[in-house]
């Protein structure tokens, strides 16, 4: 067997998967997006741009997603970075494993159940009742964009912690010592050494969280009470309620395009920040 054949054979499973699970469905979605809704719902073949012309009707959903996904990603980053730094740099090896496991533990239960728990925490008898007890009255948390944001940060935090942790863990501690020997204050060492060197981890974490958030529908559905609507919710509705497959396909295609554009801009930015493209493991 030549090297070439062997390479092809090894790539075959992934290639087949890629073709059957990604290329073919995306092509079907693209074809459907030019069709028409059948009378009782579903798809009827046609060639029309009507579905795309109708996209402004879902503007609010795109707007909500494009606001809450970056804000959620940023908030998760701000919370995750200190955690990852603490785990990678400060904690003794004895505690490290235990703390790392604690970060993963929430994944042992489905996000559905954990979001339900948040319904009770954020509902009138949860945190607002506690606030009332200390004198802050009339706080409404559940079914607001804020409650959705909390759910998002909570649900996606581990995905942000791990890439940054792995990155900081590999950080050569001698560099920090050298910086300190040369007279830099800890704050300066962090800004000039640690932070720039952890950009690949940050980039990976942000990308992971942001892409998943763009397709999120469960957290807004549960913690938004049907009032905070993401593109994901629009898609669920179009396929499962109004059964308008062509319009749903057009919305899906648009979401993919928006994501591609955002990710491309994002990658450019990261590159300009000095990280090498190869370091960002998702690309």
């Amino acid at each position: 067997m030549t090297q070439r054949t062997r390479n092809w054979l090894l790539l075959a499973p992934a290639g087949t998967w890629f073709l059957v699970m990604l290329i073919v469905p995306l092509t079907v979605v693209l074809i459907y997006s030019f069709g028409e809704r059948a009378t009782a719902g579903g798809y009827s073949p046609a060639f029309t741009f009507e579905q795309y012309a109708n996209l402004p009707a879902r503007w609010a959903a795109f707007k909500n997603t494009m606001v809450l996904a970056p804000v959620g990603t940023l908030a998760a980053l701000l919370i995750a970075y200190p955690v990852a730094y603490f785990l990678a740099v400060r904690v003794s090896p004895k505690w490290k494993t235990i703390l790392l496991v604690l970060v993963i533990v929430p994944f042992w239960t489905s996000i559905l159940i954990r979001s339900y728990a948040w319904i009770f925490l954020l509902g009138g008898r949860g945190i607002p009742a506690l606030l009332e007890w200390i004198g802050i009255e009339g706080v409404r948390l559940i079914n607001t964009p804020f409650s959705v944001l909390i759910g998002i940060i909570y649900g996606y935090l581990p995905l942000m912690v791990f890439p940054i942790y792995v990155n900081l863990e590999r950080l050569d501690k001698r560099l920090l010592e050298a910086s300190s020997d040369l007279g830099a204050k800890p704050w300066r060492t962090f800004i000039q050494i640690t932070l720039p060197m952890s950009i690949p981890g940050i980039a990976t974490g942000c990308m992971l969280v942001f892409i998943l958030l763009m397709g999120e529908f469960l957290i807004p559905a549960l913690l938004g009470g049907g009032k905070v609507f993401f593109v994901g919710n629009a898609l669920v509705d179009l396929f499962l309620q109004s059964r308008n497959w062509p319009y749903g396909s057009a919305v899906a295609v648009t979401l993919v395009v928006v994501m591609l554009i955002t990710v491309t801009i994002y990658m450019r930015l990261i590159k300009r920040l000095g990280a090498h493209r190869e370091d960002v493991s998702l690309m």
Partner: protein
């Protein structure tokens, strides 16, 4: 096996159990040699609903998949069914008829029995998604015992496709602790208080038929209207009320119970369940009218466990079993045989059986609303606004 009534030692029993668990003997062999089969049969015979009947004859498989609505069955009945037939009931819960239709249209739902509402059945027949029922397989179905008003939608062009489960109304539940003694009576009251005194406390269904239908009632239009001008009025009202709503959800009991929401569109059974637990929860039918509906049992085309589907429907139609269902879900049934077994207090309950003048204003949902693209898109615009 002639000695299946004989004593079986603990040791032998465990051996047989292990053989069965390993799969080296069949369930039938296991039940036979251990005597459990006989025990089940004796127990089964003591309960009328479990009496062996033609539909149960033979092996119906180990499961049956039921697509139904929330809070809609007595779980003990499913356990009894499993004990009698060996088939485990797997329950899928849905929030709207649209969702059920979407799943069946997409194909491969894997359902054996589902629970469509009156106005959807003609669409299922038209789309060839539903199976005509063979009444020979449903000995417990007695057409004459049903009030025809709640049974007639089950037949399309003289062919029986669905048998009645129960019926009900769509009104709203209000927590009277917050109304300050004011008596709400209409859909106009509902929508007006939702955007004023009850701002942030009201809920509507995540379901186009009832949410749009009851917004149409505000203007006195038909619950089923698909007229574009009337729908535009309803949309204006919905968009105006939306910022004041607590949530858009068909799962309204938790929020009403914990006090987050004070008012919600509601179906009979939820009204009954809430009112029984919290007397301040009042169930109101709008004087302008609104929806009356009837739910049915039906079998989708290509049901993977067809025999089990018939067995389950037949089991649930048994008056004895059905009366326990009614006690659990709190919706009235159209079956006179079942009603004969229910307590008088339930049959006179004003939530289950509203006064005739309120009842006569109600409309059955119309088939056109299910497939009308404008209503579907209106609901989506309302939700994404």
């Amino acid at each position: 096996m002639t000695n299946n009534n004989d004593y079986i030692s603990k040791k032998k029993f465990m051996e047989e159990l292990y053989r069965y668990k390993r799969g080296s003997v069949t369930r039938r062999h296991f039940l036979n040699v251990t005597g459990l089969g006989m025990a089940t049969a004796v127990m089964g015979a003591a309960v009328p609903g479990l009496r062996p009947q033609p539909a149960f004859a033979g092996d119906i498989g180990d499961r049956v998949v039921l697509a139904t609505w929330p809070n809609y069955h007595d779980p003990a009945n499913f356990e009894a069914f499993t004990a009698a037939t060996g088939a485990h009931v797997q329950v899928n819960v849905f929030g709207s008829n649209e969702e059920m239709l979407a799943k069946l249209q997409a194909g491969g739902s894997g359902w054996d029995v589902f629970v469509p509402t009156n106005y959807t059945i003609t669409t299922y027949v038209g789309e060839d998604l539903i199976e005509p029922l063979d009444t020979a397989m449903l000995p417990n179905y007695d057409a004459a015992s049903y009030n025809p008003r709640f049974a007639e939608a089950g037949s399309v062009d003289g062919k029986l496709y669905a048998v009645p489960k129960d019926w009900g109304t769509t009104g709203y539940v209000v927590n009277t602790a917050h109304t300050g003694g004011r008596k709400l009576t209409s859909w106009k009251d509902f929508w007006d208080i939702a955007r004023n005194e009850f701002s942030g406390r009201g809920m509507v269904h995540d379901y186009q038929l009832t949410t749009i239908g009851n917004a149409l009632k505000y203007f006195g239009y038909s619950f089923n209207s698909i007229d574009e001008k009337e729908l535009a009025d309803a949309e204006k009202l919905l968009l105006d009320v939306k910022p004041h709503l607590f949530a858009i959800s068909s799962d309204y009991q938790p929020a009403l119970r914990n006090g987050d929401a004070w008012m919600s569109m509601a179906w009979t059974g939820d009204g009954k369940q809430l009112n029984s637990d919290m007397p301040e929860m009042e169930y109101i039918l709008g004087v302008e009218g609104g929806e009356i509906w009837s739910d049915y049992y039906a079998i989708p085309k290509g049901a993977p466990h067809r025999d089990a589907a018939y067995a389950l429907i037949n089991f649930l139609l048994d008056p004895e079993v059905n009366s326990r269902e009614v006690l659990a879900h709190g919706y009235p049934t159209a079956d006179a045989r079942t009603n004969a077994l229910l307590p008088e207090s339930l049959l006179n309950d004003p939530i289950l059986y509203p006064a005739e003048d309120l009842l006569s204003a109600l409309e059955f949902g119309a088939a056109a609303t299910l497939t009308d693209p404008n209503r579907a898109e209106l609901m989506a615009r309302f939700k994404s606004a």
